[in-house]
Each structure stands twice: as structure tokens, then as C-alpha cells.
Symmetry: C2
Subunit: 312 residues, 2 copies
């Protein structure tokens, strides 16, 4: 059995490689929900959906989010009503949010709904939210006039295009959140625990902030292997550099190793970063060097295979 | 000033004719909300939307409901989740329901939202719901095994295609409903009160069932003129015959006159029904004969002109 801590796009791509090399049914993906938010009264769980859609083969490869072949007629129509629509929900995607919102309103947990959605998309992988409790990633930014503002993650990332300089990050509600059913069990029983190539601050950070998760990984540190999302000093995708730098983390695989060193014994880094391997290992984290840029499904599968082999 | 009691499609078409012959700003449309219901957690007001979309010139002329050029990607996607989607909400139309639901959740009344939607669609006509309180039209039907069932209006009309035989109709909540702000004022001050060619049972019936409305019309009976929705013994559109018959009403303009005789001094009937004029007048309702089949905008405008002239 495998457990995988996952954010959005990078994790989704890695998990698609993983299901090519192991039985999907052996995988439990524990997914960040710090990005979750409400739009137009609908509960949106971006990372859960990215993982689900990608594993279903229904994701939009061009945008990296949402469904392939998506239309945005509802959003365009909302513009008429003067409603902010900077967070673009596709028409087919809306069905997921309508379903999730309605089920939760009738008492279903996010876990329940996530399981139902995974079944509807015929996923073999077990997808679970990190918590059924609300954890909200909040970004404090500096304004041009020197003042600061705290934004919801999506406000900073999507509405402000991750351009506002970051002063801090917190996971509101994390201290009182409980891991979703199955999370700690999966971490305790997994042969290998994978940390997908996701943003260490806002994708994996919230998962680790749920009480019990960090300790569960630390207790099995030699069975935990992470894949770096930073290659050659830059994130493959997303704003990791705009978060790691301001938070005093080195924007490199060394910075990733430092962030994970207490919970993770092995880090897979890119061949481009081979020279950094000694610095990673100096932190007490074993470095495994391979191609980590998942340009296609074949490379993603090879990366998944190498990652598993790294702690075999 | 004019006040018009309105249902859905027939009323919408008539009102479009009316705005061709009088200033839209002089018209208050008082619209049935007995058809309202919740689908996928969204509050849907079919008649308000039919009137609004039609007056905006954005309605779907082929189906008679919804928006022109509509897509149904969200509904199709909901099918995957096993959610009943017999009530088809188009993708653009969803924006209206998302907006309405969210505004009401934040404390806006249905009247407030209706005004906002009308403004967004640049309507000159003032559109008001009959009530901000919930009135739910319920249809009791006979089942093949002889038992009976009470259905929400849309369950009977859409899901069961108005095929289940009707035993009775009630307007749940009507006795405690208050007319929406402006309704009684519009009825008291209007030079003419029009009853649009809508279903007398389930479109106009709920409006008249709101306490105070029937009396407001009765008090000004000689200024009230209705347009028959029944021509040659059949409704122009919709299931009026399947309701009027079982409820003991004659399915004809005479039946319409009987239904309205206490609140309406004049009934516009179709030339095809000219022979029935004496029977209408025998009920104490003046009959005005003209073409009432609104095949195009020109005929709708002529009908509106004749209707106004009938009580001029």
C-alpha cells in the first residue's frame, strides 16, 4: 500500500505516472484542501478536483486546471450580474461543485463526497481530503503603500496572479482540524509514503499542518520519499518561488530538503540539480537524481518507478 | 400606469407585445412564483425568468423556456453523479440561479433580486414577484393503482410531462403569504389591470391566492381585462386543459370567464371563439373578440393594443 501527499497539478501528473506502475487500488492520495473556498455559494476544492479529473483522464492539459473541452458560459453570464468571476468555474466543472455543495448541505462530509466523486469517475485510487474540517490557507501580502493585507489563497494566486509580494502564510483552522478518516491509518500502514512534486508551502504545507500528520510521517521518515517541485531554482509550475523566497527558504531542491527533512528521508531531485545532491545529503536527506520533468506519461511513469525504487 | 398579472411563456409573449404599444416604464408585471423550486441547491423562479428573459429579447423561442442559444453542459455533467436532471437548467441560465440563490442567502428578498436581475437585463418594465414568501403549487395526481400522490408543480409538469391525471391543486403557504412590496400599490393605482394569457389555474391562480390580491382586483373589476389562454377549447401552450377539466372548469374561454368573473370585467377572446361571446357575457363578463394567437410580434402588439382599448 502507498500513501501520497498531494497538492494540485504537479501531484496529479505524478499520480497519473504512479498508476501506470502500481495498481491504483493500492494508492491513497491525501490531498490538500487549504485552497478550498466558496464561490457563488458553491464549495470548490481545487486540488481534490485536479487530482480526480487527472486520474480520470478528464483534466485540461492546456490550462493545468479544470476539465478538458470545458466551456465557461455560466461564468460569462454571471458577468452580467456584476459578480466577480475571476475564479473561472467551467460549466461541466460546476456540476462537481453543485453536487459537492448540495451533499455537504445535507450533511455529507467532504470525505464522503470525495469518495462519491471518485467512484463516479471510476478511479481506482482512493482520494481523501487531508481533513473534513476547514483549513484555510491565508497569504499576507505587502501593498505598494507599505501596508499589508491578508488574502484567501485564491485571491492571491488567481485574482492577483500571485504578483503581490508575500509577507507570510498561515493555515487558519489547522490547529483544530482533525485528519480525515483514513488519513492516519494510510500513513501508518503504507509501505511507502510519497510526497508528490507539489508546492511545499501551500500544497504540502497545509497537509503537514493538520495535527497528527507531521508526526505520522516523522515516525516513518525512512519510508517517506518526496519528489522536488523545484528544478534549477524554479518551480516547474506555480508560484512556489514567490512563497519560498519571502519565507526564507532557498528556492532549490536544497530548500525543499530543508522543508521536509524532519519528515522525509529521501528526496528525488532532477538531473539538472545533481550538483546540489551533496547539499541535500548534508541535511540528512538522501538524494536520488533522475529526470523529474514530466513532459509525458512515459516520463511520469519512469519517475514514479524511480521514486518507489528509491526507498525499496 | 398598468399592472399585469403574469405567468410564464404566454404572459411573456403578451408583455413583449405590450411594450411595443406603451412605455415599458409604465408597466408593473406581477409574476407567479408558485412554480418556484429548488434544484441542486439553487433557487429557481421559472416564471420570473421567462418574463425577464423574454422582455430582454434573450429568451429561447423554440423551447419557450430558458435562454436562446443555451447549452446544457452542467446538467449533462451532473448525470455522471447520479443526480436527477429532468429539470434542465442551461449553463447561462445557471448564472441567474446562482446569483439569486446567493443573494437570498445573504438576506436579499426575492423582490430585491428580481429588481436587480431586471436592471441587469436593462428592462424598462418593473417586474415583481407576487410574494416574497414561499407559495408552492402542489398537484395531487391519481396513480394507476388508484392511490394518489401530491407532487411539486415541476414534478408533475416537467418530470411527469403533465401526464398524471390531476385530482386537485393547492397553493401551499398562500394563506400566510404577503403580497410583495409594490404589488397592492400597483393594483390600486394602475389605470388598467391586465391578466395575461396564462394558465388560470397554476399561473394566475397562485397570484390571486395571495391574500389581498383578489380583493384588490375585485375592487377595480371594471378596470381589469383578461386575455384568454384557451382558444377553440385548447390552451395555446401548456397543460391548462389537464387542470381545468379535472377541476370542473370548462376548457374554453367560458371557463376562463367563470374563473375570473369576480375579479375581471372584460375578457378578450379569440375570433375562433366568437360564438362563445354570449355565454361569456351571460356570466357578467364583457367579451371582446380579436386575434389572440400571438404568432409574431406584430400580432402580439395588436393584441396588447386591443386589450388596452377594451377598457379604455
Amino acid at each position: 500500500m502507498l500513501a501520497a501527499l498531494a497538492g494540485g497539478v504537479g501531484a496529479a501528473r505524478f499520480l497519473c505516472g504512479l498508476v501506470d506502475v502500481v495498481e491504483p487500488e493500492t494508492i491513497t492520495a491525501i490531498v490538500n484542501t487549504g485552497d478550498d473556498d466558496e464561490f457563488h455559494g458553491l464549495w470548490v476544492s481545487p486540488d481534490l478536483d485536479s487530482v480526480t479529473y487527472a486520474l480520470a483522464g478528464a483534466n485540461n492539459l492546456d490550462t493545468g486546471w479544470g476539465l478538458a473541452g470545458e466551456t465557461f458560459h455560466a461564468m460569462d453570464a454571471l458577468d452580467r450580474y456584476g459578480v466577480p468571476t475571476w475564479f473561472r468555474l467551467g460549466d461541466r466543472d460546476l456540476a462537481t461543485h453543485l453536487y459537492r455543495t448540495e451533499r455537504r448541505r445535507h450533511g455529507a462530509s467532504l470525505s464522503d463526497v470525495t469518495t462519491e466523486l471518485a467512484a463516479a469517475w471510476d478511479l481506482g485510487v482512493r482520494v481523501v481530503p487531508m481533513s473534513d474540517d476547514r483549513v484555510a490557507t491565508r497569504i499576507t501580502v505587502r501593498r505598494p503603500d507599505g501596508s499589508s493585507d491578508e488574502l484567501a489563497l485564491q485571491e492571491w494566486f488567481v485574482r492577483e496572479r500571485a504578483e503581490s509580494p508575500v509577507l507570510g502564510v498561515r493555515f487558519a483552522g489547522a490547529e483544530d482540524a482533525r485528519p480525515a478518516p483514513g488519513v492516519l491509518e494510510a500513513l501508518a500502514s503504507a509501505e511507502t509514503i510519497l510526497i508528490c512534486p507539489s508546492n511545499p508551502v501551500i500544497s504540502i504545507g497545509p497537509v503537514l499542518a493538520v495535527p497528527g500528520v507531521r508526526a505520522a510521517l516523522a515516525a516513518r521518515r525512512d519510508r517517506v520519499v518526496a519528489v522536488t517541485p523545484i528544478i534549477g531554482g524554479r518551480p516547474v509550475k506555480g508560484p512556489a518561488d514567490r512563497l519560498m523566497g519571502p519565507l526564507g527558504m532557498e528556492v532549490s531542491c536544497v530548500g525543499v530538503a530543508e522543508a521536509y527533512r524532519d519528515v522525509c528521508g529521501t528526496l528525488v531531485i532532477d538531473t539538472a540539480d545533481a550538483p546540489d545532491a551533496p547539499r541535500v545529503e548534508a541535511l540528512g536527506v538522501r538524494a536520488v537524481v533522475t529526470d523529474t520533468v514530466m513532459l509525458d506519461a512515459r516520463i511520469a511513469a519512469a519517475l514514479a518507478r524511480q521514486t518507489l525504487a528509491a526507498v525499496a
